[in-house]
């Protein structure tokens, strides 16, 4: 049997697919994880011998796009691909039909419909289902009820727990994780998290230290330790890449996602929504007008752009406060203009050749600059109506402000973010205030939102004040959450990501690295859920001999979601010269206040604004 060494393999992969190269630039080579996922996909495809057509649950094409391209599927005899929808399957002269689906009941009904409308005499195609990320008894039962379960030759699962999004970022894109954990008390997502972390350890070595804060964090750590025991007797011989794992519950810091992220990437996500590394933008600013063509047919389809660190300029500006982006862009513009001016200096054939060889790179830089200038202009036009900040303000001003926002029918989600924010900061709302808000919201946006308000209460985002003491001011002061004079241009503290408010989650991470959580025992007790530390034994010989000045690596796992601004704050901490710590970030879902609140609503409004 021929086997390639790992380094060789990665190297081939990187040269073959440019798209994923950025995954290996970081402290930890996340391409290994991607390669493992691709390998498994190939194996599944080869199990269904012969030509194939894939029927896609459309939602999955996004995450799968981060793992593979069509060329990989084609190599394994995938000849057609369709989107899953009711009715008869489109004709395709293939031996196998494979459904790639999430385990959802409504999708099972569509599959059943596809199969029952199949012409049995004519067709002798084999059916398969690949559940992503896991099979589900419930779904199989539904297929059985519909009388089609027996039509499947093969029912399998493709464990796509942690998907690499960037060189330092992994997400499960498990949309309902927060809702399930805190509203429905369903811990399935935690089980997937634990499994994902086991996979990660299988590839990157056992993580010797585990810290955690929160109920869910405790559960995940317990499951990991138990899974490890189940594999007792064999030892992982890989030199650990991560020194520490920090598990953080989202409900330890409910406040942060409610505020508007003020980094460049954060604002793009808040306003346009980044999905699987892509953003869709209004097309007008991107139309390329050629000379003499005038402004005939402007495109109406949204412009879709990929956003990740493979793009040099984006990597540079994504984590900056938006107010620092203009300066960065104009600096870049000068550099690029100067580079193009060089052509006048090219006199000899050699110099001209040199210039020409640079040209593709320069043009890529030019087009990148054009795109981000357009995006920055778009964001500027949206203006402050959008922005929700977290600051100390007299509560009657807050009340009036929220009342005004309701009166002018601002989007419901904005109102909910504001009301929840006030509640979280004050350890609940006064009964009178809460009743008033509820009434105004129901009158203005519809009575059916009783259900949503109830959900917010269950999740702890909205609650009436009880007699108990409000700990928030103590927490805020001890952790220095509100920083005056935040420096947006040249930040010296993580608070720059929200222009003066530091995310509590990241402050906890920062303090854990130095001076350690013992210094904030009191505050930790005020925050919900237990905090803990566990150690995993390493086989002798795997203990790292640390070089002088070598950084440590921490994997921070956000259970229930993380925002781009929090990620930016962690990247900032990685870059601080003497921090001695580098961070890799993992989460159940990349969120912003809007998507987060939406996941808690019982009847999400149509995506307006």
């Amino acid at each position: 049997m021929m086997r390639l060494r790992r380094s060789h393999l990665i190297c081939c992969a990187a040269s073959k697919e440019k798209m994923a190269a950025h995954l290996s630039y970081g402290r930890v080579n996340l391409n290994i994880l991607r390669e493992a996922a691709r390998k498994e996909l190939r194996e599944f495809l080869d199990k269904c011998a012969g030509s194939k057509a894939i029927v896609w649950d459309e939602y999955l094409t996004g995450p799968f796009g981060l793992i593979a391209q069509y060329s990989l599927l084609k190599e394994h005899e995938v000849e057609k691909m369709f989107t899953l929808k009711n009715g008869r399957l489109p004709p395709a002269d293939v031996k196998n039909i494979i459904f790639f689906v999430r385990p959802r009941l409504e999708l099972m009904d569509i599959i059943a419909d596809n199969i029952t409308s199949e012409d049995r005499h004519h067709s002798s195609r084999d059916f398969h289902i690949l559940f992503v990320p896991r099979r589900s008894m419930l779904c199989e039962q539904r297929l059985k009820e519909q009388g089609v379960l027996a039509s499947f030759i093969n029912i399998d699962e493709y464990i796509l727990d942690l998907i690499p999004y960037d060189g330092d970022l992994l997400s499960m894109e498990y949309e309902s994780a927060f809702r399930e954990c805190y509203l429905e008390n369903d811990q399935t997502s935690l089980y997937h998290t634990a499994k994902g972390l086991m996979t990660l350890q299988a590839l990157y070595g056992t993580i010797p230290q585990i810290y955690g804060k929160g109920e869910c964090a405790r559960l995940v750590a317990n499951m990991m330790l138990r899974m490890k025991r189940e594999f007792a007797g064999s030892q992982n011989q890989i030199l650990p890449v991560f020194d520490t794992l920090l598990l953080l519950d989202r409900n330890v810091d409910l406040l942060t996602p409610l505020a508007t992220q003020l980094t460049y990437e954060g604002l793009i996500d808040e306003i346009y929504g980044i999905s699987n590394g892509y953003v869709k933008l209004p097309p007008e600013k991107f139309a390329q007008k050629k000379q003499g063509e005038g402004s005939k047919d402007l495109p109406t389809e949204p412009k879709k752009l990929q956003l990740n660190s493979a793009e040099e300029l984006y990597a540079e500006i994504r984590d900056k406060n938006f107010n620092a982006v203009g300066a960065a862009l104009s600096k870049k513009a000068k550099i690029i203009s100067a580079a193009f001016e060089e052509r006048h200096n090219a006199k000899t054939v050699g110099e001209i050749k040199q210039f020409v060889s640079q040209l593709p790179h320069m043009q890529a830089a030019r087009s990148s600059l054009a795109n981000h200038t357009s995006i920055a202009e778009l964001i500027k036009d949206i203006t402050s109506a959008y922005i929700i900040q977290c600051f100390p303000i007299k509560s009657h001003y807050v009340n009036t402000y929220i009342e005004d926002c309701i009166a002018q029918k601002d989007p419901l989600i904005k109102i909910l973010r504001l009301v929840c924010m006030q509640s979280v900061c004050n350890n609940g709302l006064k009964h009178k205030v809460m009743d008033y808000y509820k009434r105004e919201i129901l009158q203005t946006y519809g009575y059916e939102h009783i259900l949503t308000l109830n959900n917010l209460e269950k999740a702890g985002l909205l609650k009436p004040q009880t007699g108990s003491r409000n700990n928030y001011p103590t927490i805020r002061k001890t952790l220095k959450l509100w920083m005056e004079d935040a420096n947006e241009q040249n930040p010296n503290d993580i608070s720059y990501v929200y222009s003066g408010y530091s995310p509590l989650s990241i402050r906890l991470t920062q303090i854990l690295a130095r001076p350690g959580w013992r210094s904030i025992e009191e505050v930790l007790k005020m925050l919900p859920g237990p905090h803990f530390e566990e150690r995993q034994q390493l086989p002798s010989g795997l203990h790292k001999k640390r070089q002088q000045g070598e950084n440590r690596t921490t994997l921070v796992f956000f259970l229930g979601g993380v925002t781009y601004a929090e990620i930016a704050a962690l990247r900032f901490l990685s870059q601080v010269e003497d921090s001695g710590m580098e961070y890799v970030i993992a989460t159940t879902k990349l969120i912003n206040g809007t998507t987060w609140i939406k996941s808690l609503m019982d009847r999400p409004e149509s995506p307006t604004q």
Binding site: A68, Q69, L329, S367, K394
Partner: protein
């Protein structure tokens, strides 16, 4: 916190247009200015050291963006020839890299519509040896799950000789329990593990209640919702309701999963029974109420809501559900009447402004707006009278005011608008009063294209001098601007403003009169 209850939040931007559409740069500037004056005058911020996020240094920042825009455009001219090739990878307009999965789904589907028979892509010869690509490297399934069940039965010793497995992830070799594949007498713990691995296992051997509960507890301990659900389905089939409900009560996690299972499978009846048995009356009530969302016929929905009124809601929720019912009932009546009026063609307003959508199932405030638009003058006795609606649903003064103002302004019924303010004024004609700041009023009016002479009255009532001036300039209320400059004794500004008014107009004459007035002591 001392004087202030740690409020949260943000700039009070009470300057937004009524319908939030694109704010232009002008109103952005206004917004920033308003914040500044608030800080000065009203101690708006707890501590003025906290900056509100604004798009700072307006001009500076903007000019910087302009710089890069300019550079981009210049270079484009330079390299226009090659413009189409500037991207390294090919990207379709919608941004999907050509060859990505989502792009290919569209492509292959489209091609199959074009030519049914012909495969869209050259068929790869099945002779191609596929061994090398699947056997090199490592994969999650071989490491993590053991070998997949399809294909040969790989034994444990195989796995041991598999050097890559040892190299990369010895820790995740098969757990010991998997040797016993042929033994069928699984312990509860082993059964749960097999379920987690998606292997066939029979639950039938768990016959006694005690065994079943043990199995359930092991499933709960595994935290795998899929397994918990599988066990619950078995218990539901083999236990009577009362016993099952009783046992679930002491197992909250399993209970939640059971509820989730029932609602996913839309087993409403059992779900309600469960809630009742557990004394979770309010949850049950809300759950039932939620069903109204799936009823499309308005009359059926109304009747359903009426039935909901007897459910055990909390007092507070009950009041809201009652309002919901009352509102829909009313909307149905209004809809019937107005449809007739519209068809009859005799009521002018319906002819002039045909209705664009049904009022059914709209929120209360939208309904109020509708009634202020079509039924403003009706006496308080009718169902569609705005005053009646206001009273029945106890709508706050401010909400009522904003809504009525917007509706009447939309119709350009300036007299009605005027009357809205006058009615608040019980001390005679001294002053217009409003529960709404006057800049908001101006904004609402302006959005509905109120003429200058109307706007002027309200701009004049804005308290904040600086803001008033800005508004006056924006909306060309010359009189206000002129008299403000006069009061400021600022000759320069007044001279400057002279250039902005129409030549030979009354305003220009007014400015000239002031400038030549010897009694004013100009400061410059």
């Amino acid at each position: 916190m001392t004087s202030c209850d740690a409020g949260c939040v943000l700039p009070a931007n009470s300057f937004l247009p009524f319908c939030v559409d694109n704010l232009n740069k002008e109103s952005l500037t206004l917004y920033v200015q308003m914040i500044k004056s608030k800080v000065d005058e009203e101690d708006y911020w707890h501590s003025s050291k906290f900056k509100a996020f604004t798009f700072d240094d307006e001009d500076d920042e903007l000019s910087r963006l302009k710089e890069s825009r300019q550079a981009v455009n210049n270079i484009r001219r330079l390299v226009e020839e090659d413009d189409d090739e500037d991207d390294v990878e090919r990207v379709s307009w919608s941004g999907e890299p050509v060859g990505s999965i989502s792009w290919s789904v569209k492509e292959t589907a489209a091609s199959s519509q074009r030519a049914d028979r012909e495969p869209a892509f050259p068929k790869i010869s099945t002779d191609t040896p596929s061994i090398s690509r699947s056997q090199s490297g490592y994969s999650l399934s071989s490491l993590f799950k053991g070998k997949p069940k399809v294909g040969n039965f790989q034994t444990f010793s195989d796995a041991l000789t598999d050097s890559s497995v040892r190299l990369y992830a010895p820790e995740l070799r098969k757990p010991k329990s998997e040797y016993k594949d042929y033994v069928s007498d699984w312990s509860p713990e082993e059964t749960v593990q097999r379920l987690q691995q998606g292997k066939a296992v029979s639950l039938e051997r768990f016959r006694t209640l005690q065994d079943k509960l043990l199995l359930l507890d092991h499933a709960i301990a595994a935290h795998d919702g899929n397994v918990i659900t599988a066990v619950l389905i078995y218990l539901k089939r083999t236990l009577c309701k009362e016993v099952l409900f009783r046992e679930l009560e002491s197992r909250q996690t399993a209970l939640r999963h059971f509820i989730h299972y029932l609602s996913e499978t839309q087993n409403q009846r059992l779900l309600l029974e469960l809630h009742r048995a557990l004394g979770r009356a309010e949850d049950a009530a809300l759950l039932q109420y939620k069903e109204h969302l799936s009823i499309t016929d308005e009359n059926k929905r109304r009747d359903f809501l009426k039935n909901c009124l007897s459910l055990p809601f909390s007092a507070e929720d009950l009041a809201h559900v009652q309002d919901h019912y009352t509102l829909l009932e009313r909307q149905i009546i209004i809809e019937v009447t107005d449809r007739q009026a519209e068809r009859g063609g005799k009521v002018e307003i319906f002819q002039k402004f045909p209705r664009k959508a049904l009022i059914l199932n709209m929120p209360l405030i939208t309904t109020l707006y509708y009634c202020c638009f079509y039924h403003y003058a009706e006496s308080e006795g009718t169902f569609s009278s705005p005053l009646n609606i206001r009273q029945t649903f106890k709508i706050s003064e401010k909400q009522y005011f904003v809504t009525a103002l917007a509706a009447r302004a939309k119709l350009k019924a300036w007299l009605d608008v005027d009357a809205l303010f006058a009615s608040r004024n019980w001390l005679g004609f001294t002053r217009k009063k409003s529960p709404l700041s006057f800049q908001r009023v101006v904004d609402i009016l302006q959005k509905n294209s109120a003429p200058t002479h109307v706007l002027q009255d309200y701009v004049a009532l804005v308290d904040d001098g600086e803001l008033r001036l800005t508004l006056a300039q924006k909306h060309k209320c010359h009189d206000i601007v002129i008299s403000t400059y006069r009061d400021m004794k600022d000759r320069q500004l007044l001279l400057g403003y002279r250039g902005k008014v129409v030549r030979g107009s009354a305003e220009e004459r007014k400015i000239d009169d002031l400038l030549s007035n010897p009694q004013i002591r100009w400061k410059n």
